[in-house]
Amino acid sequence: MSRTFLGTPAFPEAARAALADPQLRRNLAHATGTIRGKRAAVVAELEETGEWEQLRLAGAAIKDQTLHHLDEHLVRLEESLVAAGAVVHWARDAEEACAVVASIAHRHGLDEVVKIKSMATAEIGLNEALAAEGIAAWETDLAELIVQLGDDLPSHILVPAIHRNRAEIREIFLREMAGAGRPAPDDLTDEPARLAEAARLHLREKFLRAGMAVSGANFAVAETGTLVVVESEGNGRMCLTLPEVLVSVVGIEKVVPTWADLDAFLQLLPRSSTGERMNPYTSTWTGVTPGDGPQEVHVVLLDNGRTRALADEVGRQALRCIRCSACLNVCPVYERTGGHAYGSVYPGPIGAILTPLMRGVGTDEQVDSLPYASSLCGACYEVCPVLIDIPSVLVDQRAQVVDARRGHVSHVGESAAMKGAAWAFGSASRLAGAERLAGLAGKFLGRRRVDPGGRGVVSRLLGPGGAWSEARDLPAPPRESFRAWWRRTNGADT
């Protein structure tokens, strides 16, 4: 994967391009609709008994308590890992983390590694960093393979190739597999079983010859030093057991204090993400087991903006996130724009808060546009397995953007409009004056057409109103506001 999100325009502009792609709209509506339905069915089973709400509360409470004493739990995790024979590295940012992974590969004289699907390694741009060091990183998750072969960008946390349909995937396999290893068979069809078979054969060669694997982790248990990877395809299990060297890049918020804490999360995660009661493969490993599996185990504990997010009083709840993608699948904005418009490996509602929280607001137009990429409908909060109140964090992030940009030229127009509105809304008499003006305007506007209710309609507004009227009519302002009517009649004659 050589492409990056660098240079993605601000959300409204990126969304405009995505919305114009009818194939993308169809693929996304179909895929998100399917996963939504599956999730709803398996969550309903536990909602009937009240268990689901208890699991959510437990998941949120474990994460909050852990984040509250994150330093202590991380030190405990390090001690347990070292006792189990693992080597622990601390990385402040993407550059440090990538350098650690590259130096391990170099030390073993390797020019390729196999990879388990991992958001942390995607976040730090590990594949590109390794490529720059002459090391090929092969993605082994089916969807990540599709993205990598297609020189594409991920558009979903769980299903990074969600924007592709089967016909497109067949094309990519036929065109690109030969350049990366075993070619796809000439008679490949777009049947899911045939596509999966082609991927399996292609990847098998890579698994068998790999000297090193790179993974992330869904959870890291402090008391035992155990890392956990939850997956569906079994490619992860291959990566975790075949190569001699295993390097795991783990965000510092992934730590949970005890083995028993996994109970809640291993129920919450599969039901929320793939809509399954239990996922097919759950792998756990604790350092090095002599004579079995990798004999050299490294863990890179990654900050890269997480402590910045932790310092945000409202936003820190985003660090509870277990990367299930339920919020993406129910988001009406994501369903229409897809993930690329968010300009990050973290798209959708959670991405719209995580990116600004981890990178900070006030310096980058693209990042600052993300908290506004939501209608605040609340569907994300409703499904979140760890109760992240995404709408409230979005609103708080918007306030931080406005505060950071006060007086900045990019916000002069909007700021003046808001100050004007605040002035008018600050007093009923000022508001009445503004309404009288609108009523006068209404006499001239809206004469040409009436709506089915018999009211005059305005089809073209000037200035900022043009963004409204490009596709939407507006009722002409009434001759008399409610307030003016009340004043005239004292509320009689309804």
Binding site: P332, Y372, Q400, G426, G453, W468, R472, F482, G491
Partner: protein, 245 residues
Amino acid sequence: MVTCVNDAMFPDVGKATLTLLRRLGVDVEFPTAQTCCAQPMVNTGYLDEAVPVVRTFVDAFEGYDHVVTPSGSCAGSCRHQHSIVARRSGDAGLQRAVAEVSPRVSELSEFLVDVLGVEDVGAHYPHRVTYHPTCHSLRMLGVGDRPTRLLRAVKGLDLVELPAAEQCCGFGGTFAVKNADTSVAMGSDKARHVRETGADVLVAGDSSCLMHVGGLLSRQRAGVRVVHLAEVLASTEASAREVAS
């Protein structure tokens, strides 16, 4: 609380709310000092600008038993956001006033069903109607099926189910202009679902959402009217005869 959108753009919704509540025996006043709930500022990130607006709100509504509003969104803003604005102001007096007034705000269907305990409000509305549950009513307030229980009790009304009803219409306040393309894409799908029902009238509990979907339906010459829940519930056989004559 009539709301700024209804006051300035949809005065008939305010009048219908008044008619309905009076018919049900409620002693209703319109405190003329009211303006707006401050949601446009809060949701766009202008918290400082929201402070004087919230102050105006509590000044206008202090001392009433109930504050009833024909808007799920404005009720949600009062109940869930006013405390944030008050905290930002650093004014302990405002925080106390907000803690006193904001919990007394009810959306119309909540007030009718929970406080007055009525579902059949004696309305008559002989039309084929579909209902869009607006996001803030549904998810912020949790009004559940109160609005549809009220609608089902209306004489002559034929309620048809809206496909994908619980998905957002795409209005979202300033989202509608800051992200106009996405907003319109969402609204177009909503408008398509409305047309699929064959309903003559789309009903919802928020005028702003209706203004958005109605604006799209009007541009498409879809021949579907958008009507606020309060207007449906205020209609009677007598009022229909009056309009006809």
